[in-house]
Symmetry: D2
Subunit: 423 residues, 4 copies
């Protein structure tokens, strides 16, 4: 079995290698190809991973390439973790909305919109290569915004893609922790979108949670007021903090000295010089401080379920079908699925609480418009997307925001600024 990682210059790469090593009895990987457009970071990461593989005692052959097709050809799973524009672009995504009094988070907020414009056409190109050079392969994606990436890839290429996110199982852990039970014994209906999902109809070992148990779990969510969670009647993704506490978050982000992107960027030199150290064959401690990991577990779980026909319960971003009747059938949603040899099937859920249905529908409208805007370069559709976004909405504000975002991202948006761009 051959596996590749597109965007392998990311510091997340070693984590996947580590998990592949742990699971070698179940996943017979013979070759792991690392691909990145940044040759320098790729060289550092390839060298480190070869040393790390050695230290882990695995015999997976590891090599680096800047040739995407070379990486993809005949692979069984294509892991994608790209960041178009790097952390410098991310910082703009964060700062421009904030300057207008808006949430600039890189997935949920208006920042996620700019990221989508940059990222989707590239991911669709990658998927076209997969269709051509590894037609039976699965794309295992954790490039954000993962729901929009999955929707663009499915609509425009028909490639097989699993849009993953570590957050789908958070509710298992919240309930597990508050009740003192194993996370795996916790099940629920999960409805919504990536970073806009809600867990409800919760059970532990098949028994529905009491109101008290639900309240206790709500207190584990963290950045969302537990009383508001009880009002919703569902455990939300932590990203809901940006919706439920918008005013407070904007104030806090303005008060903070620097953005999350700036923090991450500041860490990179030290992190990469640690990876580059020829003596280094273990993950640097600094990696933990960076945070954001956890994808490797989900990615490995997915590959195991498909390769070994395991019938695993997993949260994936998939086309809705008839799961949520208030969303289009072709809309990608994030929901619990059965994953096995024949792919991904979303499991039926009860309709989510009315208190969250409208929000999900509104954000999905934004997402579908954003996908269309990203793939056409149409400014009118882009403006409609921002007006459909609950965190922007006001048409006057949206227009100013759009102008600034497009201008700042001019270099990464050939569809908007190329010769054939729509007016």
């Amino acid at each position: 079995m051959k596996i590749c990682i597109i965007g392998a210059g990311s510091p997340y790469t070693p984590e996947l290698l580590e998990k592949l090593s742990e699971w070698r009895d179940r996943l017979p990987v013979r070759e792991l190809v690392l691909m990145d457009t940044d040759a320098d970071r790729l060289a550092i990461m390839t060298g480190f991973c070869q040393r790390y593989a050695n230290a882990l005692g695995t015999d997976i052959v590891i090599r680096g390439t800047t040739d995407r097709v070379d990486a993809i050809r005949d692979a069984s799973f294509i892991n994608t973790q790209i960041r178009v524009g790097g952390n410098r672009a991310r910082i703009q995504d964060e700062k421009i909305p904030l300057s207008l009094g808006l949430i600039g988070q890189e997935t949920t907020g208006a920042g996620g919109f700019a990221k989508a414009l940059r990222t989707l056409p590239v991911m669709v190109d990658i998927a076209r290569d997969v269709r051509k050079h590894a037609p039976d392969a699965w794309i295992v994606n954790y490039t954000n915004p993962t729901g929009l990436v999955a929707e663009a890839v499915i609509r425009h290429t028909g490639a097989k893609i699993a849009g993953l996110c570590a957050g789908g199982v958070f509710a298992q852990h919240w309930v597990g922790r508050s009740m003192g039970v194993a996370p795996q014994s916790v099940r629920y209906d999960l409805a919504g979108l990536n970073h806009m999902n809600f867990a409800y109809n919760l059970t532990a070992s098949g028994r529905p949670l009491t109101n008290q148990e639900f309240s206790a779990a709500a207190r584990e969510v963290g950045p969302v007021d537990p009383a508001l969670i009880e009002t919703l009647g569902a455990l939300p993704s932590p990203y809901l903090q940006y919706y439920l506490h918008t005013t407070a978050k904007v104030a806090a982000m303005k008060a903070a000295g620097r953005t999350r992107g700036e923090e991450v960027l500041a860490m990179e030199p030290e992190l990469f010089s640690a990876f580059a150290d020829p003596a280094a064959d273990r993950k640097p401690d600094l990696l933990k401080k960076r945070g954001g990991g956890g994808y490797a577990d989900v990615a490995i779980g997915f590959m195991d379920a498909v390769w070994n026909a395991r019938d695993s319960w997993m949260v994936v971003n998939v086309p809705n079908g008839r799961t949520l009747p208030f969303l289009p059938e072709d809309a990608v949603i994030e929901t619990a699925c059965l994953v096995g040899a024949d792919g991904i099937r979303p499991l039926p859920v009860k309709d989510p609480p009315m208190a969250v249905r409208g929000l999900i529908a509104a954000v999905k409208s934004y997402e579908q418009l954003a996908v269309e805007a990203a793939m056409t370069g149409c400014r009118r559709t882009a403006l409609a997307a921002l007006m459909a976004h609950p965190l922007v909405r006001d048409g006057d504000v949206a227009r100013t925001l759009l102008e600034q975002l497009l201008e700042a991202n001019r270099n990464w948006l050939p569809l908007f600024f190329g010769e054939d761009a729509e007016p």
Copy 2:
């Protein structure tokens, strides 16, 4: 045929009388009963209407009563135009949200929420009387918020109700004016909710409008930027100004010396003394300045269509059924219908543009929660309603707003403040 008006102390009453007189050949009304809880205003309006009927040369017998059942019994049509709490309550609805930086409009904004809490239980009580004392009658409602009133009445009583609004035909007039054609020749799909509706798929005499014709019509809408209307791809209700220009509207409302409710209240003494003048047998000029009329045409059109089996195309607030697949089947929507002897049937429409679908869904979630809150007195549901409202949304803000609105309306909210109120 007997007709009654509940809330007949309103200055709108003479307009309906005038139309009944005009249409006497088609609608054989023998008795018009005026009912109000305010005996003084009722007496003034009854006296004026009797003189006005005389002047119009109609032989409809007009009488006043404060006994609701007396008014309803055996009537064919029950016109309802009540205002619980009067204009003084309305002014609070406008001012409290504004003090928190929010839209306080009496139907669309957070103010409409407070109005719904006061109004819905009373309208449901009226509908129960109709079921009992005039079971085959239609309630012809123009009490706002008319969509929420219709939904509460249908869900809780099963009474026959037509939730009317003069705005459903606005798009006929915008297109008629910009193209120089008869409004009646203009047709469209109308999708959405009361004061949250959109006309699209427009035709004039069966021919689809060109983009240029659409743009010209967009310029007629008035308070919404035509460029934003083109972005939406649908002609919006003028009330969309509160969504598409929120920041500007809040600023303007703060800058204005007084609210719309205060203006109306200030006019009332002069207006009622004009009605009370024993010599007055014509509508006072001041009535035009007050504005807000136009309902009588719609109400008469509805009564004519039902009574005379006319198969009329009308915009009505009705249960969705399968008209809009992204809303629940029992949700009341505002849409074009066929009205005839056997009632109201919503006409199928193309799915509305994606740019407005999320907004409609979000507001409908708010509406369904608001109806439930109003009819149960449950504070948790009330908070969920405000969090679901796109113009409020932030949970911290919603909580403060709810406390202030409930406190200010304490006298009109027995379900929230009575002995059996939910905690």
Copy 3:
């Protein structure tokens, strides 16, 4: 306004002319072009119609042509009433199934299947000419099987077509007769397919029928046992006799000396020599004996509703949309519609009684397979169609029947017997 009739050699043609003359104030027809592939019958009918028009005092210009495009070009309405293979083919349709113990009726039974194979490709060709030479025109179709014709034309050409049948208003007359009220005051939900429809939820002047009134109406249907109608809970098309009394009908058809097709064929020489009589300027009496008319009223009603924007309640064969949730959205159904300047909109109905839902679904499956078979010439799909037909069903019987029908119709089925035919 120009109107044409394709298949104008039919004896139904004068009826339409008569109605056009009656309605001349509402439908300003200037030219009526008669088209047929049978030059002899066309000449006779053109001559008669010119004399008849004269006698009626209308100034519509009438002319005949065998050039289809000439007839279609710039017409406002294209009336289609063709019979591919003529009555000789019909007689085979009747006799072959009967010889296997099956219903051979020309629309409902297996005979209708053979008629569909012959007719659909020709009607689709006509529709393509309409798209090209009169793109805004409506095809007003009463060629049988009208539901399958409409589905094939819509799916393959996108032309505007109204699939009409005189039977849609029968229930108005049954109820009108049994209650002694005007048929126009009777309304109902009409659900189903052409010749497989059911009227229920019946009202007269807006009042629901009592059980007694329903039973009385059931006795008017004629060829169906009223007790079985009460079991269904809906007034069926008279063609349901072939489903509800199959055994008795097959026996009766076998016992009868000759088929309906043979009767009609026998009448033709006398009928056409009457039309050909240069002195004849009135419809021959024999026409009444022939029967089968009534379409002209429906066709005129449709043209009036569209041309004059009348908002008429009419029964038409149209794409289902979400009218019947148990059928595909693109399936053509027969149902009550609002017809106006902007076309045809099916009216929402209550779900039909469970007792008829399965039958409607089964026949629709047959119909969709029959349309596909007719337009592809695929024998496998043709066999699947007959197996899906409730009046055939048994696979062994279906196979024998298919062989015999195809062989007998070899000359009219180029898709099945041409060089490129699917195996």
Copy 4:
């Protein structure tokens, strides 16, 4: 864990015991209670099972009771395998339809209708006992007609019930055999109803079957002509022989000396005297000849999946939800499900081939009417059910059949013949 078997006098009982013994490591059963209304057969079976348990070396405590509540109280799983009226009633079910030229099979044909009338009220009574005395327990049902039993129980009691049938995995074995692969590697969409299901969209180890592989699997189905299976495009339940070869099957059944029920009845004395032999502690050889087993595997598989939270792919009769859009949401269908600690979730499927959709819909209409008739004793609904059944359909025939079936089953139909019976 306590398990009980209702209808334990059946010769299937030892098979379940055998499987419980095999799976003792995964299912910690402490007590197995056998319940039957026939005390004699119960005594024989209890005695045999105790000896058999001993021989198998299991320490499960086995006891018999004729007290249903005693059996049910606090059990974790209630296995139900009753036969109201015994084999004598079954023989009538087979013979009466056959005498009218109809299929009298005990599940699929008109015979299954009579069985449903006798069985459903009893099963609903049992389910009410379960709700009361073991509210968290699952009913594991293999009483036929299992789909109708599940629908009646769910609609009338809300008890948790798994309607099982050994046939759901047949397609795994057909494909496994024809391709030489493990049955477990075969997956498919399974759509339809019990004994009216179809497997399509087939894969082996995630790879779609080629046309040749499908044809080879079709030849394994057995009693259905493979050419007809290719026409359908789906592997049918073997019971489809009664629909696809009706004429041939009726002829063969008439030609046969005796019915299947008569064969089974003839075997019983010898079979039960073998069980009664105090020396017998192994299953008698004659049991194999009787056939009809295979349920125990499915039942154990279900109990394991629930008890041990296994996330198993299983075919179960469950409420449709939105799985098949052409059936009501509350209709019980037979489809592939994910079974785990929190119950049964039907997996989404592609829409089944058009060639089988109408048949499934027609039979489901029959089933829903049959359930209603069985639970109300309404003759009109019973007649509607038979008219909706594709194997009866003709109203005249249905009426005669109904009279004969009711009369023959008079003793087991208190709802039809009791004092309060509907006319």
